[in-house]
Symmetry: C2
Subunit: 260 residues, 2 copies
DNA sequence: AATTTAATTCCATTATATGGAATTTCAACA
DNA sequence: TGTTGAAATTCCATATAATGGAATTAAATT
């Protein structure tokens, strides 16, 4: 519910994020209440969005849903991310080397977004998908990303989202989180065990651009049945190696025009 | 460059579609010219979009790119599509039964959008991805979708996009296209051979909701080295079977609230 | 068929986006 | 390191585009 220079955009974001929050079909009345907008104003707005395919209406119920145009833009945005394009082949190698799924994430708006994922063939796998948003305070990738944010930003996240207990080992205390982030900065990688999902662990390392800024995180994740302390070390080393290769590729001005 | 009730939304769509048209990073000046907007107006707009993660700026150049928030919304939109969710398991079966990749498409804004895709393990595969837009006049899926549109809509597509020759066998004549669409309505499925991509063929069938409206197309596609007339018939029969099963599942009011 | 509830349209009003001009920033080159 | 030029950014009086209360229509519900 931020306030930017263009009100209509703020409104659009609030509206679409309502779907992100788990609602999949909403009526005009429901939205009118949620957005605190008169139905007339909102209706005009929704019809406009529908005409562009940003929203679509159910054939039976007349409820509003996210439209197909969003899929197109999402695909373009994913495609257009330099880090993603560059990381892709390395992620395949990483999966082959480790046997676990690789995840590429970026920090965005107090949360962490998965922008690429390479699966394994293991019968036991985790459920993650591109575009998925996760809490910034829990899980290896999240911690690897926020560990390198300025202190104020971390506090802003905590203030905004709190530190909800998502799983057995979620860090729910600010002091503990800060200590953990310091440890991550120290050792250069993060790991987690059942911080977000029961039965899952993760390892992740930051990816830096040529200025040293952390622009993403490279992670591995798997089920606890394939977990051990030794593996964490081994996987961390693997991630560190590939993250540094991705960083190098990122800063090499090749044919791609996407300077992050 | 449509005109809806809310100007800002029209503008947003024009802007984001600039990226869809193959540009991956643009300057304020370039956009200002393209959108025919004064830089001051545009600048305010862009900054607003950036603040919401709809756009992001390169760290080096100051060019504008699609932002990560779009990935999140795209993922939600894909997720939230009843037909996609329902079709998914059937598509896996279809891939197993046929050995070729399955594609689920919908018609949107004079084009065809891929909303789901199930790959094969074949070393030779096609390059298709979720969110990809394709021309509405060429390829099996496209034809299966537009064959059931009202005549005016087809003419609107032709007027808007023309019938560009995309590959060896692209239909570039309106009369021929109409005849082909009539044939497709007749036999209930479409097929194509090198209409969009060299070395590729496809077969597709419409998927209908309980009202009989065509809400998507289910297709198979593969390389010409695995093509024959017999296979087309065989694959068409497979697609028809699964499309009808998807249609049934669509009209069965289950737990899912997405009535298309 | 009547009643309730939700969606849609209308239009005078006002808040909001507008854009020309001034200012600042940045990069390239001397 | 200073100079120039081409961008981006800010400012603010103005016009215009979004606003929302009230009336109308459509769709459920009894």
């Amino acid at each position: 519910m931020e306030n930017s220079a263009v009100k209509t955009i703020d409104r659009l974001v609030d509206l679409l994020d309502y779907f992100t929050q788990g609602h999949d079909a909403v009526s005009l009345a429901e939205l009118s209440e949620y957005l605190e907008l008169p139905k007339s104003t909102l209706h005009r707005f929704l019809v406009s969005l529908e005409s562009h395919g940003i929203l679509r209406r159910g054939a039976n119920d007349k409820k509003w849903r996210p439209g197909y145009h969003l899929i197109v833009w999402g695909s373009i945005a994913a495609e257009n991310s330099a880090i993603r394009e560059i990381a892709k082949p390395f992620m395949s190698e990483l999966v082959t080397a480790s046997g676990e799924m690789a995840i590429l994430t970026v920090y965005h708006a107090h949360e962490v977004v998965c922008i690429e994922m390479t699966e394994t063939n293991h019968p036991v796998r985790l459920n993650m998908k591109v575009g998925e948003q996760r809490a910034a305070h829990a899980g290896a990738s999240s911690k690897a990303l926020i560990a390198f944010l300025p202190e104020e930003e971390i506090m802003a996240i905590v203030k905004d989202k709190g530190l909800p207990k998502l799983c057995t080992n979620t860090i729910t205390d600010v002091a503990a989180l800060k200590a953990e982030l310091a440890r991550i900065r120290e050792q250069g990688y993060s790991h987690s065990l059942e911080e977000t999902d029961p039965g899952a662990w993760g390892v992740a390392t930051p990816i830096r651009d040529w200025t040293g800024r952390v622009v993403g995180a490279l992670g591995l994740a798997g089920p606890t049945l394939r977990y051990s302390d030794d593996k964490v070390k081994e996987y961390a080393a693997l991630c560190l190696g590939y993250a540094s290769r991705i960083a190098t590729a990122l800063s090499t001005p090749g044919k791609n025009s996407n300077n992050q």
